[in-house]
Structure formats: structure tokens, C-alpha cells
Chain length 228, copies 2
DNA sequence: CGTCTATTTGAGTTAGCTCAACCGTCGTGG
DNA sequence: CCACGACGGTTGAGCTAACTCAAATAGACG
């Protein structure tokens, strides 16, 4: 099931000491870089690690036997990926660009919280936040049309990574059209056509295929009808 | 924003004592019944409680301004609903049939875990399980066709509440066609047609609209292509 | 400069939607 | 007791948004 080996960053793992506090936590985690296109983990692997994104963007996805793929989420800096309920990963996770992550050994906190209860609390808060995002995602996949989905997607990115320049807000889109399509449950052609329509309507500008500038923020928000 | 009042079950709430252990937990939670069609909570309400389903089935859903609705999940006995990341509920939750729940005061464990760390662990495990279910749900909404979605849905119910009788496994479907449609991102007509097709193909039997018997389990599983 | 890959654009097809009719069950009231 | 209307589910017919397939375009890279 392995595409690339996701665990060889952790060869010199230290033994786990009896107590664990915030400032020694660093000893039980390590920072590493995953190169563009490489996997953090694959579906079916033992879920031994949890990853916190420091830099770059990852993609978590699942594939059906016939190759149909659904992208669950894009993980941006601050996001946590790799939580499992049964000790196995149930999705693939790949680096979309050059990604720096902090890797935590699962057994130091996950499923056994004796050492540091607050880490569990942080984890739960994070899970609750992610579940909320997932509910927004359900709304898109189940009930919004193509243009609304693309608009919603752009609004989420706008609020998360938009850089305000005078009247427009711009940001990079590190993922391919194919990634966006598989995230939104559409095809690359429909993504392209929707972006073109938004551009022709003057809502956005596309300096290049991997960068967007939002010209009419409120129009985009109206289209996306995102919560909050 | 209220449809029905979801909080009047908790009029005689007790003050929170300083310590909290498993056997006194009952004091900080209470069991109550929510009647068919009534709400446990609504989007926008203060998320003061978390609910564990004891009996019956609940539906969590979101609606867009124009009335389009997406059902996020059906909560069966053992499931927990009402987790929030920011102190507000972001979905509606309603009783599909007569529902018995245990209501926990959020502040006794959620977001402040000083008293009982293990409750947080249970919560996190539950959240991880639910996130896994949600990922299956994404696959359905984004990448499966109507028949596959209905088959997947039936397989999940089959594994969860199926009662095996000789060669077939049967279970009740407490939710309406409209609920199923809004869960699967389809219309009631498409649900009906898909069920009829499965019946005509001999995969299932429908003694009445709210009960299914699975005749060809493996055929249904093949169609649904569920993970695990 | 040519090849490769990602994206955009165009044209025709189709799965699922919309709208409408129909059917069975249930509760209500004359 | 039965007629009636309301409601939930099923079935049919036509429509349309998004898909599929195909071609054109544009960068990126050796």
C-alpha cells in the first residue's frame, strides 16, 4: 500500500520519559520536511504519528478501487492531520508543496492521556474545529452548485491566507485544478469554467493559474453562502 | 432562530461541585426524552450541552438561506452530538423518533478538562470515529452515483442495526425519504427510484417504506464500495 | 526548439433534477 | 361509518447542470 515511505524521518526516536510537560514535548516530537508530491502517510498504514503542519500545504484524500478520488481537506500551517480512531490511517496524506511538519509520536498522547491532559484538550478543540469545517464541506458537496462550490472554496482560502492589497485580496492556490476538483466533487473542466466565469464577471482576477485576487469580496461571499 | 425550545428539559440544573468522578457524573448529567420532531438544539444556540443518545435516532443538519438542507449525520444510540469548537452550535439537531438522551453540562468537561481527563479521551476517541464516518460520507457525496450512495447508506445501517434472520438481515429506517435525500445529496425521487431498482434487482426487500431486508448482502456491499 | 504537462475552451451526452400525476395510509369530522 | 383531506412515498416525462471527450493554448524544462 506504500507509495513512498512516510516513516523514515523518525529513525532516531527517543524513548518516552515518565512525565511530559510543554517544554520537553519537543523531545517527543521532531520537525521534518516532506517534499512536494511525497506522502506523509497512506490509507491502511499504522497510525503511529500525528502531524502538525508548520509550513506548506498537505492534501488528505481517499480513493475508490476504480480510481475515483475525494479530497477530504487541505491542511495549512497550524492544522493537525493523522488522527485515527482505530490505530490505522483511513486516508492518504500528501505534500502539495514543500511541507515542514512537526511529527508527534501518537502513544505519547493519543488514546492514553495520563501524562498530559491538556494536550488532549487541544486535540479535542482541534477536532471540533475540523468537524465544523467538514460540515461546511458537506453543505458544498451535497447541496451547492458548481459556481457556489468554487466560490465557497475561494472564500475559505480568502479568510485563511488572503493578503490584503489596497482594494483586492490575493492569495496563492498551491493545489492543482485536479485537487480542487476532487475536493469539490467536480471535474477539472468545471473548475476551470467556474473560475473563468468569476473572472469574466469581474469577481476575481487570475494573474496566473496558481494565484487569485478577489476583486468583489462581498459578491463572492454572497455566491458562496458560507456560514460565519 | 428557535423552532422549538430545546433547553426546557434542564430547568432544575444542579450547581457544579469541585470534584468529578465517574460515579457522581450522573449528578451532572440528566436523562430526558425528546419527542418526535422536536429539536435538541438549533444552529446559533449557545452550545451549553453535549448529548449522548440512549434510545431513538436524531438528525443533525444545516440549511442554507434559500432552504436547501444538508443532513450531516444520523445519531444512533451510543453516539454523541453537540460538540462545538466555539461555544455555539453550528447545526440543528432534531429527534427523528422518540429519543432518550443523557445531557451533559458542557462546562463540566468540554474545553476545561481539569477534573476528569479520561472523559476528554473518550470524547476525542468519539470525535475521531465520527470524523472517520464523515470521510466516508465525503466519498459518497463527492464521488459516488445515486445507486452507490443509497447502497452505501444501507450498508452502514446494516452493519450498525441489522437484525439477522436466517438468510436476510432486516432493519427499520426511521428517517423519511426526505431525510435520506438530504443526507445523500439527492432528491426524494432519486432515493425512491434507487430503492425500487435495488428491490427489482432482488438485492433488498421493502416490507414497508420504513423497513428494509437485505437479501444479497455482498451485492449491496459491492455496490456501496464502503471502506472496511 | 521540441516535448511534456497543466489549464482552458468547445461540443455533445447523460445522470439526476423538476414538475406533475398517482397511490396508499391515517386521522378527523360530519 | 364513511368521506375527505393531508401527507409520505412512488412513478413518469422532459429538462438541465455537470460530465465526457476532444482540441487548442500556454508554460516549464531539458
Amino acid at each position: 500500500m506504500y507509495v513512498t515511505s512516510p516513516v523514515d524521518y523518525f529513525e532516531n526516536a527517543q524513548p518516552i520519559p515518565p512525565t511530559w510537560s510543554e517544554d520537553v514535548a519537543a523531545e517527543f516530537s521532531c520537525v521534518t520536511t516532506i517534499h512536494t508530491g511525497h506522502s506523509l502517510f497512506c490509507e491502511g498504514d499504522d497510525a503511529d504519528f500525528v502531524y502538525k503542519i508548520i509550513e506548506g500545504v498537505v492534501r488528505t484524500s481517499k480513493v475508490l478501487m476504480d480510481g475515483r478520488r475525494q479530497v477530504m481537506a487541505f491542511g495549512y500551517p497550524g492544522d493537525i492531520v493523522g488522527l485515527s480512531h482505530d490505530g490505522l490511517y483511513h486516508s492518504d496524506c500528501d505534500a502539495i508543496d514543500e511541507v515542514k511538519v512537526r511529527i508527534y509520536r501518537k502513544n505519547t498522547f493519543n488514546m492514553s492521556f495520563d501524562e498530559e491532559p491538556d494536550f488532549c484538550g487541544q486535540m479535542l478543540r482541534h477536532a471540533a474545529t475540523e468537524m465544523n469545517d467538514m460540515q461546511e464541506h458537506f453543505m458544498m458537496l451535497g447541496r451547492k452548485n458548481a459556481l457556489e462550490r468554487v466560490a465557497s472554496f475561494l472564500v475559505v482560502l480568502l479568510d485563511r491566507v488572503g493578503e490584503k492589497h489596497d482594494c483586492t485580496t490575493c492569495f496563492d492556490i498551491p493545489m492543482s485544478r485536479s485537487d480542487i476538483a476532487d475536493f469539490l466533487g467536480l471535474t477539472i473542466e468545471t473548475i476551470s469554467r467556474s473560475l473563468t466565469k468569476l473572472r469574466k464577471d469581474g469577481v476575481i482576477d487570475l494573474p496566473n493559474p496558481h494565484r487569485v485576487c478577489i476583486c468583489k469580496t462581498s459578491a463572492l461571499r454572497d455566491l458562496g453562502e458560507n456560514d460565519l
